[in-house]
């Protein structure tokens, strides 16, 4: 575990914030898609650490910095919003699986739902740095236009060849779900050199699975589940997956994921 110091904590629009944490330079460099477990408070309520995707990471000689994009949804994130410069939090090392960019891929499509954009921002920066000639097609879904500012999309916009915002209320961009906006374009933008990466609500990823036919398109998704330990011990954060022999098993989002191949995920009915 590492002690991190809050450098800045901005609330961009109501309910959306970006917190920058300073870490010792020995902090391992995260790979895009990995997450950290954050403990905001030494007491027992809230009790558990909270998992957050890594939205950005920089290193200098003296220290490292992690940026987390968050939406205030409960007591943990409420507490995160109240953190100020100089406050200390405890964070785990980067955990879980990372997005994989196959060698032959020259174009990546990012499909984000709300704060699900966070790990895709880090992935896009990584891709942009290592594949100068590569192309990024970005689709971001949100309920309404106001959220756009909160989701720190500006840098992603600058490095994207195509940047589509979809709003459910139609206040800006494509009117409707982000998966529909993306679906309209797939015949045009997907070829053998394309990979798709998605992160967002379960229903968004499920919709993506319904039209990205098994195996034809390389697609990885970052899944979310409530998590206790974040290190593979509690078996709390599982998703149903297809095994090698066609069997069903529960894989841990924290250590077998959070990044999974879309074709491995099973969409069982939830009560």
């Amino acid at each position: 575990m590492f002690e991190a110091e809050v450098k800045t904590n901005f609330e961009k629009v109501s309910g959306y914030g970006v917190i920058s944490l300073l870490l010792p330079s020995i902090f391992p460099v995260p790979r895009p898609g990995q997450f950290i477990m954050v403990r905001l408070y030494d007491g027992t309520d809230p009790l558990l650490r909270r998992p957050f995707s890594i939205c950005n990471f920089h290193q200098t000689k003296e220290n490292s910095q992690i940026d987390i994009l968050y939406r205030v949804v409960g007591r943990g994130t409420e507490m995160m919003r109240s953190l100020r410069r100089g406050d200390k939090v405890s964070i785990s090392r980067p955990s879980g699986t990372a997005f994989n960019i196959p060698m032959h891929v020259k174009r990546i499509c990012l499909v984000a739902g709300g704060v699900g954009i966070a790990p895709l921002v880090y992935l896009a920066r990584f891709f942009h740095r290592h594949h100068r000639k590569g192309e990024i097609f970005t689709y971001v879904g949100m309920k309404t236009e106001k959220e756009e500012k909160g989701l720190c999309v500006s840098e992603l916009m600058d490095i994207s060849h195509r940047f589509v915002v979809a709003t459910e209320d139609g206040s800006t961009g494509y009117v409707g779900l982000v998966t529909e906006a993306f679906r309209q374009d797939i015949n045009e933008i997907i070829n053998e050199e394309t990979a798709v990466y998605a992160c967002g609500p379960r229903e968004m990823i499920r919709a993506l699975a319904s039209f990205l036919i098994d195996g034809r398109v390389f697609c990885q998704v970052s899944m979310e589940e409530r998590m206790a330990c974040g290190m593979g011990a509690c078996l709390g954060c599982v998703v149903a997956l297809k095994g090698r022999e066609g069997n069903v098993y529960y894989g841990r989002v924290c250590t077998d994921g959070p990044v999974f191949n879309l074709r491995h995920v099973i969409w069982e009915e939830r009560k």
Partner: protein, 307 residues
């Protein structure tokens, strides 16, 4: 400089380096924590419950946080005793820490079969018999509600093993002291308690449970006063050693259990928040003993003064 206090405890024929164990289901198969903890420093590791064949476990969502606690309904997802013995145990043994296997069965025959395999493989220091899991449809808790069925499981397991048998009790038992007496009479070498307490949490927007199985087992600091009282009640009832489990986050929590007479304690939910919780608790117990001028942890165990 004074010598460090002696933390050794004897428990059902085992000598433990200290009274701090991990609670089943909260420490994986041990390896997951090896980067954070020198496992050899622990009193013992109790591994995730093992059934004869692997178990899928319950669908998600399996956990939800509540005030100072968490509910879980994992449903005993595990790799099965054979894979444990072949793949996990050899690696775990290299760490040089006593390994206590937690045994689960849907039937008495399954408890016997799993216990026999774990005994014959010669890698375990003891068996902990789980008659208290609240999250499976068959077995588990159904044997732990009454003294008679608890005693039957205990006696049958005793027939197939020469390892110390620890029976893990449920707070749902009609009378936990009656169950304790029954398993002692049936040959249990020690008792651990408590398993989680059934609870629920409701999503007020969907008006559904926040867990897939409607109810789950509550653990964490919220249950400690309840667990401590039950441990104390059982200690007064039986003469075999008792292991205290429930909401232990700090050395102070652990010491409360030791003072009321627990021979050892298990740390559960705390491992999720701080993977080094066990070693911090060991250090804290040692510091307390030094402050009190006690040379051994045995000088503290069972020193509770009722009035």
């Amino acid at each position: 400089m004074t010598a460090l206090p002696d933390l050794k405890v004897e428990l059902a024929g085992l000598t433990l380096k200290n009274p701090v164990m991990t609670a089943s289901g909260t420490f994986g198969y041990g390896e997951e924590f090896a980067d954070y903890v020198n496992l050899a420093e622990l009193g013992a590791i109790v591994v995730k419950g093992l059934s004869l064949n692997s178990k899928l476990g319950n669908p998600p969502p399996r956990i939800v946080e509540t005030a100072s606690g968490m509910l879980n309904t994992i449903g005993l997802q595990n790799i099965g005793v054979h894979v444990f013995v072949q793949e996990k145990l050899p690696r775990l043994r290299r760490f040089g820490v006593p390994i206590i296997a937690n045994v689960y069965g849907e039937t008495i025959e399954e408890y016997r079969a799993v216990s026999e395999i774990l005994t014959n493989c010669r890698g375990c220091a003891a068996l902990e018999i789980n008659i208290s899991c609240p999250n499976v449809k068959k077995g588990g808790i159904s044997f732990g509600l009454e003294g008679e069925s608890a005693a039957e499981v205990t006696a049958e397991v005793k027939k197939v093993t020469d390892l110390p048998v620890i029976v893990k009790l449920s707070p749902q038992a009609r009378s936990i002291t009656e169950v304790a007496k029954s398993v002692e009479a049936a040959g249990a070498d020690a008792i651990s308690l408590i398993n989680t307490i059934p609870g629920m949490a409701v999503d007020i927007h969907t008006r559904k449970s926040r867990l897939s199985q409607v109810t789950g087992g509550l653990s964490g600091p919220a249950i400690k006063p309840i667990a401590l009282k039950m441990v104390w009640d059982v200690i007064k009832t039986v003469s075999i050693p008792v292991i205290g489990v429930g909401g232990i986050m700090t050395a102070q929590d652990a010491l409360e259990y030791l003072i009321v007479g627990a021979r050892a304690i298990q740390v559960g939910t705390a491992n999720f928040i701080d993977p080094r919780a066990t070693v911090k608790i060991i250090e804290g117990i040692s510091l307390y003993l030094r402050q009190k001028g006690a040379r051994s942890v045995r000088d503290i165990i069972g020193t509770f003064e009722e009035s």
